[in-house]
C-alpha cells in the first residue's frame, strides 16, 4: 500500500521528539481573505497537518464555537466549490499536509467522485466526515481511496475494542480520538478514562493516534506522553483569533 502523507507527517514530528500539531480552522473564517492569511501563518508556525472545516448548516458533532464560525462562513458564501477552487490555485503552497473536515451532505451534493477528484487535485491528503460511521462508509471510502485520500476515522471513549478493531482494519492516515463524550469545544480537564482508552486505541491501531475535541492548552496532555502522536485544536484557536490574537502566538504555546 502507498504510504500516507498524513502518517508520514506525524511520524516525522514524533521522530524529532514532539507530538504533531494539527490546528483546525473553518474555511472562510474569520473572513474569506483572512482565512488564507491565517492558514499560511499556521503553516509557517509549524503545523504538521491543517484541518480545514467544510461548513454545514447542521453540524451536530460541533460545539457552539465551531458552529458559529461555520454559520458565519456560510453567510459569506463559502462552499465546497470555493474551498476546492482556492486550494487548487494555491496548490503546493503549504508545507503542512491538508485534511478537509465536515459533514456528509455537502459532499454528497457536490458528488462524491467529483469531490474526491477535485480534493486530490487541490493537494488535499485526507478527509474527516463527522457523520459517517464505519457501517455507512464503505462506498465513499472506496471512492476516496481511489484518489489517494485517507478517510480518517473518529473514535472515542465509548468505542468498544471490537469497533476500534473494525476501524483499524481499514483506516489509513491517522485515527482521530475524541477526548470527551461530547461535541467540539475546549474543556479545562480531560476525563480520567481518556488515558485508559487511549492505551487500548494505541494497541489496536498501527497508524498514529491524534487526540482532539476539548484541547485548550498543552498542559492537558501531561500524563498522556507516549499515548498521543498528535494533538488537534479548533475551538480554542478560533476563540484566540476572535479575540484578536495571531495564529503564530497560539501555535508557539504548543511547539
Amino acid at each position: 500500500m502507498k504510504s500516507s502523507l498524513l502518517t508520514e507527517k506525524i511520524r516525522a514530528a514524533n521522530a524529532s521528539g514532539r507530538i504533531a500539531l494539527i490546528p483546525f480552522l473553518p474555511a472562510g473564517f474569520p473572513d474569506k481573505d483572512r482565512f488564507w492569511e491565517e492558514l499560511a501563518a499556521l503553516d509557517a508556525a509549524g503545523a504538521d497537518i491543517i484541518e480545514i472545516g467544510m461548513p454545514f448548516s447542521d453540524p451536530v458533532a460541533d460545539g457552539p464555537v465551531v458552529e458559529r464560525a461555520s454559520l458565519q462562513a456560510l453567510a459569506q458564501g463559502v462552499d465546497l466549490a470555493w474551498i476546492l477552487g482556492e486550494l487548487a490555485a494555491r496548490r503546493a503552497g503549504f508545507s503542512a499536509a491538508l485534511v478537509l473536515m465536515g459533514y456528509l451532505n455537502p459532499v454528497l451534493q457536490y458528488g462524491v467522485a467529483a469531490f474526491a477528484r477535485d480534493a486530490s487535485r487541490a493537494g488535499v491528503s485526507g478527509v474527516i466526515l463527522a457523520d459517517l460511521p464505519f457501517e455507512e462508509a464503505v462506498d465513499i471510502k472506496r471512492i476516496l481511496t481511489a484518489q489517494g485520500l485517507d478517510l480518517v476515522p473518529l473514535v472515542g471513549l465509548n468505542t468498544s475494542r471490537e469497533r476500534l478493531a473494525m476501524y483499524a482494519a481499514q483506516a489509513t492516515g491517522f485515527a482521530y480520538f475524541v477526548s470527551v463524550l461530547g461535541t467540539t469545544g475546549e474543556r479545562r480537564t480531560l476525563p480520567e478514562e481518556v488515558r485508559q482508552k487511549l492505551a487500548v486505541a494505541r494497541q489496536v491501531f498501527d497508524i498514529p493516534v491524534a487526540l482532539g475535541f476539548g484541547l485548550k492548552t498543552p498542559d492537558q496532555l501531561k500524563g498522556l506522553e507516549g499515548l498521543v502522536d498528535a494533538a488537534v485544536f479548533g475551538s480554542a484557536l478560533i476563540k484566540h483569533l476572535e479575540a484578536g490574537g495571531k495564529s503564530a502566538e497560539f501555535m508557539a504555546a504548543w511547539s
Binding site: 447542521d58 458533532a61 458552529e67 455537502p106 451534493q109 460511521p133 455507512e136 465509548n158 468505542t159 461530547g182
Partner: protein, 396 residues
C-alpha cells in the same frame, strides 16, 4: 436490503460516539420491545392512560356535501390531544426497561415535548426538552404545560432557532449523556432504528382504524389520507394498509403560502435526496447541500426533512404525496368545525384540505379514511391571526 434502510433511504449517519446507544436500541428492539412483558404493559398504558382505541367517526354532513364516504380516525381524542403520545409512551416504557432515568426530546411546536413530558411524569422519569428560542416565543402555552409536567425546557439559540436546530441540540446532549438518557425522537426520522421503532409504536393507529372500518363498513377504504411533516401519524396510519393493493395512500404536505419561492415544508413534493439528522431521505436543501429553513402555518409540519420510509413509499409509487397551501388548511379547519363539530389541528387540516380541494377528482361514492392526527385548540391563536390578516388583505 441493507440494515436500517427502506430501499435507498434510511441508514445511520451519526458520529461514531452515537453508534453505541443506537446499537443498544437495535438490540432492545429485539429483546425488550418484542417481549410479551413490554407488549402487555404498552397495551395497558395505551388503553388505560392514553384512552385507546380512539374513535372512528363518519363525517355525515361533509360526506353528503362531497359525494364521498368520509371517515376520521380520531387521534385528537388521545390523551394530550394528538397521536404523539403513542410514540412517547412506547419509548418511555422502553427507557424504563433499559434502566435509564431520563427522557430527552426535541420539540417544534411543543406537542411532542408535552407528550414526552407526560410519559416521563407517568413513568417516573426525568425529562429534558430542547426547543428553538423562536418556537418558545410562538408556543409559550406549551412551554408552560411541559414545565407543569415537570420537564426542563432548554432554549436553543443557534441556527434557525426552530425544530431542526432543536434536534441538533438534542443529538449533542445525547452524545454527552447517553449512559443514563434515552433520546425520545418525535417522528419517524433520524437514524435507524428510530424510523422503524416509532412506526411500530404508531402503527396502532392503522391497526385500529382497519378493524373499525371493517366492522362498520364491511370492507377496506378506497383511500387513506394523512398529513406528512416528519410523517409519524401518516406512517402509523399507512403501515397496516401498505400490503393492501386496493387501498390508495395519499400523504399531504404543507405548501406554505403557495407563492413562488416561499418557504414551505413540501419535502417529498419538492425536495431532493440527502443526509440530515442521521438519515438519508428527501430534504429541502440548496444545491450545495445546506439545509433550507422550512415553513408552514401548521407548526407540526414545519421540518425540512421527512421520514425515510415515506421517501421510499414515494419512490416505489406505493403512496402518493401531494401538498396544500396554508389557506386551504385554514379553510378546511373552519369547515370541519362548522360541519362536523370537530376542531382539528392545523396539521390534520392539511389532509382534510386536500380532500376538500380534490373531492371532484375522487370517484363519487369512494370511501376515504383520514387520520385526524390532533385537535386544534393549540392552534387558535395562529388561526385567529391568519384569518384576521386574510380579512385585511381582502379589504385592501
Amino acid at each position: 436490503m441493507k440494515k436500517g434502510y427502506f430501499g435507498d433511504f434510511g441508514g445511520q449517519f451519526v458520529p461514531e460516539l452515537l453508534m453505541p446507544p443506537l446499537l443498544e436500541l437495535e438490540r432492545a428492539m429485539e429483546t425488550i420491545v418484542r417481549s410479551e412483558e413490554f407488549d402487555r404493559q404498552f397495551k395497558a398504558l395505551l388503553k388505560d392512560f392514553v384512552g385507546r382505541p380512539t374513535a372512528l367517526t363518519r363525517c355525515d354532513n361533509l360526506s353528503q356535501r362531497l359525494g364521498l364516504d368520509l371517515w376520521l380516525k380520531r387521534e385528537d381524542l388521545a390523551h394530550t390531544g394528538a397521536h404523539k403520545i403513542n410514540n412517547t409512551m412506547g419509548q418511555g416504557l422502553l427507557t424504563k426497561m433499559l434502566g435509564k432515568g431520563t427522557l430527552l426530546a426535541e420539540t417544534g411546536a411543543g406537542q411532542h415535548g408535552v407528550a414526552t413530558a407526560t410519559a416521563a411524569a407517568k413513568l417516573g422519569l426525568e425529562c429534558v426538552v430542547y426547543m428553538g428560542a423562536v418556537d418558545i416565543r410562538r408556543q409559550a402555552h406549551n412551554v408552560r404545560r411541559m414545565e407543569l409536567l415537570g420537564a426542563r425546557v432548554e432554549p436553543v439559540k443557534t441556527g434557525t432557532q426552530t425544530l431542526k436546530d432543536a434536534i441538533n441540540a438534542a443529538l449533542r446532549h445525547w452524545i454527552a449523556e447517553q449512559r443514563d438518557t434515552h433520546y425520545c425522537l418525535g417522528s419517524v426520522v433520524g437514524p435507524h432504528p428510530f424510523p422503524e421503532m416509532i412506526r411500530d409504536f404508531q402503527a396502532v393507529i392503522g391497526r385500529e382504524a382497519k378493524a373499525q372500518f371493517r366492522e362498520r363498513v364491511g370492507r377496506l377504504p378506497d383511500m387513506v389520507v394523512a398529513c406528512v411533516g416528519g410523517g409519524s401519524n401518516a406512517i402509523g396510519m399507512f403501515h397496516e394498509f401498505v400490503p393492501e393493493p386496493g387501498v390508495e395512500l395519499v400523504g399531504v404536505e404543507a405548501a406554505g403560502s403557495g407563492q413562488p419561492d416561499c418557504y414551505h415544508s413540501a419535502t417529498l413534493s419538492l425536495g431532493s435526496p440527502g443526509v440530515l439528522h442521521g438519515t438519508r431521505t428527501k430534504l429541502l436543501q440548496t444545491g450545495q447541500g445546506q439545509i433550507l429553513p422550512s415553513h408552514s402555518v401548521a407548526p407540526g409540519l414545519d421540518y425540512p426533512g421527512v421520514g425515510p420510509e415515506h421517501s421510499d413509499l414515494q419512490a416505489s409509487g406505493r403512496a402518493r404525496y401531494v401538498s396544500v397551501t396554508d389557506d386551504s388548511a385554514l379553510a378546511a379547519f373552519q369547515t370541519l368545525c362548522r360541519t362536523e363539530g370537530i376542531l382539528p389541528a392545523l396539521e390534520s387540516s392539511h389532509a382534510l384540505g386536500w380532500v376538500l380541494d380534490n373531492a371532484r377528482d375522487i370517484k363519487p361514492g369512494s370511501s376515504v379514511l383520514l387520520c385526524l392526527s390532533g385537535r386544534g385548540d393549540k392552534d387558535l391563536e395562529i388561526v385567529e391571526q391568519a384569518l384576521a390578516s386574510q380579512k385585511e388583505s381582502k379589504g385592501d
